[in-house]
Symmetry: C2
């Protein structure tokens, strides 16, 4: 029985899980730039050309030979003859020589021999053909050189890198419009428990509606997964085992969530044990809420038994499912590296039992220009506590709690 | 000419913009729970019933009358007769009296008269019909009462609230499976500039590929917008004015981005001026990068002229387009309230001109357990600087810069 088993520490459980799935290689597919948003590159992508592909002005002004302007000032301007004008997008035709300049717009291609641009604001037109330069420039001023952004052959996108809007922009700039990315993991969700009924029907006394499938499905979709919802399955061997088996065959990850009664937990362990191995990796973690979590692996498919309480299920999702999902999405690096946080002043004392990691949900408010964290009280069975919470902070295994006015690091729910 | 016009401070520009669109009421539509993810509720939703709908146990154990266990301990246990068992999901049938108890699973419906649950771990079975209670409980222990999570008529979701996974869970728990949400804004993107060519073709010297439409489209999709891409339009009055006019007719917001040359800027101002009023709200902001931004309004449609440089365009997106988008998506509250940030130690001195807000892109690394921010150098025309940056920090208008080892607050790109 779980209550009398040794619980696994959160960090250790995660290490066991990630080690077990480290060798799994997700498949890949080719998609267009629009469809590549928030996908993960499955290749190192090298720049096929220089960006920009020529020396360009970064200002409206005059392309000059910088040496012609050295020492120029309001009192002692340099005089330059305007011998041409660069037109936007036109191929470079002109060339300048000492004492001459070209009018040039921002983004314009520098004429041959010119090595800097004087801003319009630092010139005074004398007539159509002559300008005063009232501030000297150095070589390279207001110019972005060929390849300054990225050079041919340089690494533009690394394998395992998330393709955010800015990475898609870099690819567009390099003329790469088809990208090979890892396939999105497909995740199956099975709900079980004799007391669970569908959200769209009546809930007689003693029955509760299926909250977990909605919450887990939404969390998964936000991470870019495809989701198959297997609905509510009776918690007897016949229905439950065969549905879990089917879900494992049809998905890259399977989540089941059920009552957290002892009988239900036993059933979950048995279901994982009956699948192809290696089987159960972790049964029960030193985490509150989230203690009854089961973690197993069947072939290449992680199978998670999540607590029935929605709050506990969501905490286990963040700690265990999300890193596995990141790994099977091809993401490199630690999944919670630099997770967005805010430091906040704690509004009351919180006690914690030593030996387990406590997840304390909080509401954030601003008081006197300071972020203040007010713990959201409520039992782990209460979904409304999650809806009221802006995020959570952690009380480590070796701590007995936090004191009022202590500064805590709050992870933000998004 | 813009360089000689008065620039508007960033905060003021945003205030002007948000005041101008404050009265616009976005339309709404009804969607299912799955489709409601990350949408915004257009109504106050009240709980139609109590959650949970009965008193339930939060532990495996025995439902008791708490008074029967007062003072019970290892040395002096209380003895209770087991007169029944609660089955999961079964309607409540039993009732207990003094000296009796029911076996109950987590989630089980409390039998009549019982007012607390003794954890299994705090009992010792004597025989099939008798248990020892070795730790007394108070009234309400290990019980979640009818309506403890949320009570009939209480506000479950407020108008203007974002529907995250946990809000969808609350709605599922309350049996609400259709939700009225604000329509997603539709945003038109127009690229212009004689030097701009499509990403999927060749880019001769002097031409650069259209990066902005890809980046802006991806940023918009991430915010839940529908996007219409009008492609690259020649920057002459005939093509440009008519495309902007069409985009305003067909969308809730229009972005155009072009060369930031003076000619292009003038064309942008003229395009907005020729639309139905009120017209230009802001021309040019005290922001680096991002100075040439134009903000206008035609009827109920904000029109943004964004700088041609992708880095500047993205900064202007974050500061101006995103808040307008949040407003037209029906989001209540300040759009950048509690934006995820990390505090980091600055790796070098950064100078800044007084009188403008500087946006400094940084790479974050961990050194000696501290987050360290290394400014990403590179011109605002360079898209690769954005791809290398984890986020940015701000140098205020009244500051002349930041010093090495100073602690700065970094906004995280996601």
């Amino acid at each position: 029985m779980l209550g009398r088993q040794q619980l696994t520490a959160v960090a250790e459980a995660r290490t066991i899980l990630l080690a077990a799935i480290a060798a799994i290689e997700p498949g890949s597919e080719t998609v267009t730039l629009v469809d590549a948003l928030d996908r993960v590159s499955s290749w190192d992508i090298l720049a096929p050309e220089d960006l920009p592909n020529c020396d360009r002005s970064t200002m409206d002004g005059y392309a000059v030979i910088a040496a012609d302007t050295f020492g120029a000032s309001q009192e002692l301007p340099a005089y330059l003859e305007v011998t041409g004008e660069v037109l936007m997008g036109a191929p470079g035709t002109g060339s300048i020589s000492r004492g001459n300049c070209y009018k040039i717009p921002t983004g314009g291609l520098l004429p041959d021999k010119s090595d800097g641009v004087v801003m319009l604001e630092h010139t005074v037109p004398i007539d159509d053909k002559l300008i005063e330069v009232v501030k000297g420039i150095g070589t390279g001023t207001n110019v972005i050189r060929k390849g300054d952004d990225i050079r041919t052959g340089a690494l533009a996108i690394a394998q395992g890198q998330l393709l955010r809007p800015q990475e898609l922009g870099l690819l567009a700039g390099l003329g790469i419009t088809d990208v090979e990315v890892y396939r999105r993991p497909c995740v199956g969700i099975v709900a079980t428990g004799d007391e669970i009924v569908e959200p769209d029907g009546p809930a007689p006394a003693g029955r509760i509606r299926n909250i977990n499938s909605t919450v887990l499905g939404a969390l998964l979709r936000r991470q870019g997964s495809a989701v198959i919802d297997y609905g509510i399955v009776a918690d007897n061997e016949g229905s439950f085992f065969s549905t879990v088996e089917q879900a494992v065959a049809e998905n890259d990850i399977v989540l089941f969530s059920g009552g957290s009664s002892v009988g239900m937990r036993d059933l979950g362990e048995q279901a994982i044990a009956r699948l192809a191995g290696p089987g159960i990796l972790v049964h029960g973690v030193a985490l509150k809420p989230g203690k009854p979590a089961l973690i197993g692996l069947s072939g290449n498919t992680p199978v998670f038994g999540l607590p029935g309480h929605p709050v506990s299920a969501m905490v286990c999702f963040d700690f265990f499912v999300k890193p596995a999902l990141a790994r099977l999405s091809g993401r490199s690096g630690s999944p919670d590296e630099l997770l967005p946080t805010v430091r906040a002043r704690l509004k009351r004392n919180i006690n914690s039992a030593a030996g387990r990691l406590d997840v304390i949900r909080v509401q954030l408010t601003i008081e006197d220009d300071q972020v203040v964290a007010q713990p959201v009280l409520g039992r782990s069975g209460a979904i409304s506590t999650l809806s009221r919470a802006h995020g959570f902070f952690l009380i480590a295994e070796d701590s007995q709690g936090c004191n009022i006015d202590e500064s805590v690091e709050v992870y933000i729910y998004q």
